[in-house]
Amino acid sequence: MLVSMNWIRDFVDLDGLDIDALIHRFTLSTAEVEEIYHYGENTHNVVVAQILSVENHPNSKKLHLLKVDTGEQVVDCVCGAPNVREGMKVAFAKEGGCVNGIAITKATVAGFDSYGMCCSEHELGISADHSGIMEITDDIPLGTDLKSVYDIEDTVFEVDNKSLTNRPDLWGHYGIAREFAALTGQPLKPIEKTDTSVYADLPPVDIDIQDTEHCYRYSGMKVDNVTQHVSPVNMRIRLFYCGSRAINLLADLTNYLMMELGQPMHAFDRRKVDCVEIKRFDAPFRFKTLDGNERDIDENTLMICSKGEPVAIGGIMGGLDSEIEDDTTSLLLESANFDGVCIRKSSQRLGLRTDASMRYEKMIDPEITSTAIQRFLKLLMDIDPGVQVVSSLSDQYVHHYDTVELTFDKAYVDRYTGIEISDERIIDTLTALGFDVKHDGTTFDVKVPSWRATKDVTIKADIIEEITRIYGYDNFKITTTLSPLRPVRKSLNKTDEYYAKDLLVEKFKLHEIHSYIWADSKKFGELNIDVEDNVKLLNSINPDHVVLRNCMVPTLLTAVNENKSFGTEYGIFEIARVIDGLREDGTCNERKKLGIVLFSRDCEEKKLFFRLRDMISLMIGNLRHKTVTFTHVESFHNWQHPVNTVEMAVEGVKLGFLSTLHPLTAIKIDKKAAIVCAEIDMDTFMTVPKDELDFVEPSKFPGIDIDLTILRDPDVTYRDIESIIEANGGEFLRTLTVTDVYDGIISSITLRLGFSSPDRTLSMTEIQDVVFGRIVPELEKENILLKK
């Protein structure tokens, strides 16, 4: 919203104060100012002058040669405006002057010298009108500085509308002037208005509020015999500086009032509207608003009607048919108050957000509807003294907000602020803001003014804000708390998560990425990844992003697909949430999971698979000092490879899976690359208790190593061999390691069995007895044979 400081000064005396500094204080105490404009500061030496003669330019149809009397001298001027005529008084920029930043110098225009410029309102920066030069009324003496005639000079600032959301009272200049009054300690002047009690005996306006739930108050008045149709220059300048466009006197006045008091008003042409009903319709219909657009009106939209015919959308916009025209002389003035939520919803439905609806949705003060009419009359009568009021000020006030009264004591303020603010300061601040304050000992009884009581100020803490913001947060003495210190333990899931990340990044050189919580059906489709049924977004603006993911790997695979040019070998991971369907109570089963994908064009899939398996074993081993078991399972996602999908578990607790990719997905990413992936449920992992490190004192006595080379059979896993050896190795078997794997026509594996005793030197005979007397025969029973 744009705020004119000239306008503010109508209501509060700011003479001698630094205006920019005041506006800065407004930012710190009230609402954020986004921009300050200094209008007129680059306009100098523009005076009221008179055109003495007009001659056509010999070489141009558009240009005229003028003799202009500036009050000091008569000068030549070449002018292109169509509306020049002899005797006309104009705004004339003298040679050496400046118009809205443009320096005026002697110029030669199409062969003739020109010593100045006749200015249009557009050139002066006071309106959008560039149809011709600005005409000045006859009563202004020649040579008068234009800036002393009109309010060209003004400081205007723009407030972020969002920061006014909770302040319905700040949607007009008068409310903002109240803030400046409180900030400066100056009194706020009352609004000058017409005393309408003298019209009390005139017939009332027929106002029928049928929807009393959504129309809170409706004030109306009829005025005849309007003869003026153009607004005064200064009013038009204010409207223009505040972002509005001058239309005609009556329309301008309603806009002016809205900007001044924050009360939207509407003027109906009384030829069309002479009484009003406020209601909603049962069936939808179309309605043409004054911007010329047809609107679909439904049963929830509040309408203003006249004799059953809709004439305006309540609180949003008037109808085209009943709008004020240039020849309107008789009007019905509306000043109403509606339910903010109803207006907001209608405005959203219609896609029509207007200056009026914006104000109503903030829940403006219903008390001011009649004041606005009285103020309107005052301004209208000043401009057009011949107007005739033909009705009483009629008013239907069906919904009052509750009065808000709050009681608090000084200790409450002290506790909340942490600083000392004096009683006087509290009283002065609240009084300046319009609160009615009674102070008795340490207790304050406060009555909240109507313009703050619609929703804004409801509890004691709101009063704290009023006191402190005017006091100024910059003036606060800042102090630390006296809260006792307590030890803080890091939560386990954080520790796990961070350790996992460190290990994956620092040791295994993986890259952490972030992906989205939903499946991207387009990207998944390109990789032959099914979007599995899951919880859905109801209102996603992207039709490809609807189903929430139930697994980390597919979103990581799409990332791999988009990173093929990054390198020939890399790995990525992410710890984030997936939704594993619904829980019994219908809520999402949200799980925190770690997903890992390795990609390589340099190494074969098998090697990559084992690299990933080892990463996981090491990570879990380090975090919990437990062994991970891997077991082949049937693939359960369409992109997993049917042969190598492996479930991982610790002590029977399933943690996730490790798999290679189904060829149909792998081939879509890269025909020549190996890709393996894994997922670990971090929430489940967190519940696995940590074992203590199992420390074994190294033996002081030499040990004995025995190597066995065993023929490999595809039906026998290493785990089978290992368990037989461990079961029969006896008390001295300490280590079992693989020293060689030979893949050939006859494949074999060489194992080294390490024996040692903590308290003696073992003899070769006793160990050979164990190996060849017990272990080897047991292996042979299972058809596991030594290589001869």
Binding site: S29, R415, G418, I419, I464, Y473, R489, K490
Partner: protein
């Protein structure tokens, strides 16, 4: 005999001049001092020499031997020195400007900033909490004093789910659960991923990170809030940061503030980043609304507290100079792999 000695000495000198490495010096030694060398041969001649001259010749041969030995030693030393120098000179001077071949991994920038900020809070006695991304209407809105039809709900374009839940629009959604879990007094931070249903561009993301903090105790004041925010932000930015508070409206705090920090780009004199104001809007905060405390099971007459929300994604953009917010969720390793270490 004397002639022979002179001849040998002359021959030796001649040969020594051409000896250039340790092998030729060794040959020289064998040729003159070896068992069958010139000096040994002379000793044989000594037997046949007249006996009155034997003593004199013996002495002269000895002199010769010593002379040869001494010259050989000098020669050896010189050649060793020369060879050592040659060895040193022959070493390759390595090009230390060659690029590194060490493979590195990388952290997501959000992880980096989050850990940094968490460490600061942990040091100040704050519990670090993790909270769901999918929440219900009550936790995201009702419990935060945002009733149905409140315009604040329009300000946050919420993703609703078909089971009636929603993706949390702000980390504040965890406030109620955390207050219920710990009660007062309480100091906690809860970083998390938030979602807003809006179109994305260089400045807007539908998925981003925030970090919320609350501190509740008896007599927590606005003065404490300002102190705390200033201290915390100075730690985050590793310098004395100027802060200012402006009134700001958030339904879950009263009074509510927008906290600005002195622009970190221009130092507060004004630049395009801060729209020439010298200040950057960083973090909404305020005194926790009594209704929110009540909903969290904490008596607002006994306890007060403050809450603040820090945009971790925005902080990361400021700290690392990331211009396009979409970088964070792009998965683009050319960008993300640059964040190599903690």
């Amino acid at each position: 005999m004397e002639k022979k000695i002179a001849k040998i000495m002359e021959d030796f000198s001649e040969a020594a001049r051409s000896a250039s490495d340790s092998t030729s010096v060794e040959k020289l030694r064998v040729a003159f001092l070896g068992k069958k060398g010139e000096v040994a041969e002379l000793m044989k001649d000594l037997k046949s020499a007249p006996s009155e001259q034997k003593k004199e010749f013996g002495q002269k041969i000895n002199q010769l031997k010593k002379e040869v030995e001494s010259r050989l030693a000098d020669l050896t030393a010189a050649i060793e020195q020369k060879e050592l120098q040659a060895l040193i000179d022959s070493a390759e001077c390595y090009d230390v400007t060659m690029p590194s071949a060490v493979e590195t991994g990388s952290y997501h920038p959000i992880t980096l900033i989050q850990r940094e900020v968490e460490d600061i809070f942990a040091a100040m006695g704050f519990t670090i909490e993790d909270y769901d991304e999918i929440v219900d209407d009550y936790h995201c809105f009702e419990a935060l004093n945002i009733p149905k039809h409140h315009p604040a709900r329009d300000m946050q374009d919420t993703y609703y789910l078909d089971n009636g839940q929603l993706l949390k629009t702000h980390t504040s959604a965890a406030q109620n659960a955390i207050m219920r879990k710990y009660g007062a007094p309480l100091r906690a931070i809860f970083p998390g991923r938030c979602f807003r249903n809006e179109a994305i561009d260089a400045c807007h993301e539908n998925t981003f990170f925030q970090m919320e903090g609350i501190m509740i105790d008896k007599d927590i004041s606005i003065s404490n809030l300002i102190y705390f925010m200033k201290t915390m932000l100075s730690e985050v930015f590793q310098r004395d940061v100027q802060v200012r508070l402006r009134p700001g409206f958030f339904p879950f705090v009263e009074p509510g503030f927008e906290l600005d920090i002195s622009c970190q780009v221009c130092g507060g004199v004004g630049c395009p980043s801060c729209k020439n104001s010298g200040w950057l809007e960083l973090c909404p905060c305020g005194m926790i609304h009594p209704n929110v405390l009540t909903a969290g099971g904490i008596d607002p007459e006994e306890y007060t507290g403050f809450a603040f929300g820090l945009g971790l994604t925005r902080l990361a953009m400021m700290k690392y100079g990331v211009k396009d917010i979409r970088t964070f969720n792009s998965g683009n390793l050319k960008a993300l792999s640059q964040f190599e270490s903690l």
